[in-house]
Symmetry: none
Subunit: 124 residues, 2 copies
């Protein structure tokens, strides 16, 4: 009873992705139906998302981000989907990574290049 929770969290840390989206939407002076229209989702669904009942797919997140003139990275980051906790890349993984994700190379070619690269950098 008594008070509800904070409805508009002070700027800074959002309780959830829904709060973030709602805040951004209100900041842009858009109604749910307007934003839903632009983002090509249904307004009830947007309501659920903002209330934290559903966690939207990446597609929808991207669409909402675009509608709000936010970068997809920002949105994913808020959604906790970009936690750069996984791969410790950088440094000497630069070349290998670039090779691995190059769509013009076959896997055999990638292995060859990486093998050569490693032989070059073995001593350093």
């Amino acid at each position: 009873m008594s008070d509800d929770e904070e409805r508009t969290p002070a700027s800074g840390a959002w309780r959830s992705l829904g709060d973030f989206i709602r805040s951004q939407r209100e900041l842009a002076n858009l109604s749910m139906r307007q934003l839903a229209e632009i983002a090509k989702i249904s307004n009830p669904y947007l309501s659920q998302v903002e209330r934290g009942l559903y966690k939207p797919s990446a597609d929808v997140l991207k669409s909402i981000a675009n509608a709000l003139h936010l970068s997809a990275e920002t949105m994913y980051s808020q959604a906790g989907l970009l936690d750069n906790s996984g791969p410790r890349d950088e440094s000497h993984h630069g070349v290998e990574h670039a090779i691995k994700v190059d769509p013009r190379l076959t896997n055999d070619q990638k292995e060859s290049l990486i093998r050569i690269y490693r032989s070059f950098t073995a001593g350093s």
Copy 2:
């Protein structure tokens, strides 16, 4: 009849996200069950994803990316979920650029690697 279809597209972009994941998985010498285990998804589902029958959620994408030691951004980018209209034009000259700026390679080694790389990608 005739030949197998191309399993690793020799040139051009990935036909789909599934192709990219399968290629990365094979490059890491992981079976579907192994990768599925690490990524905490079921192996049949991974099969469907690699065959392009389903488009995984961002959560799963992130998990697979981590299991393959790829950054989530790379995976999202491949999934077409990040508008890579970013400042990086590096995507196209990724390998050569990475080689050029690698401090552990001598200039001779860089030239060798780039020459091999160009021979591999000559047709594309």
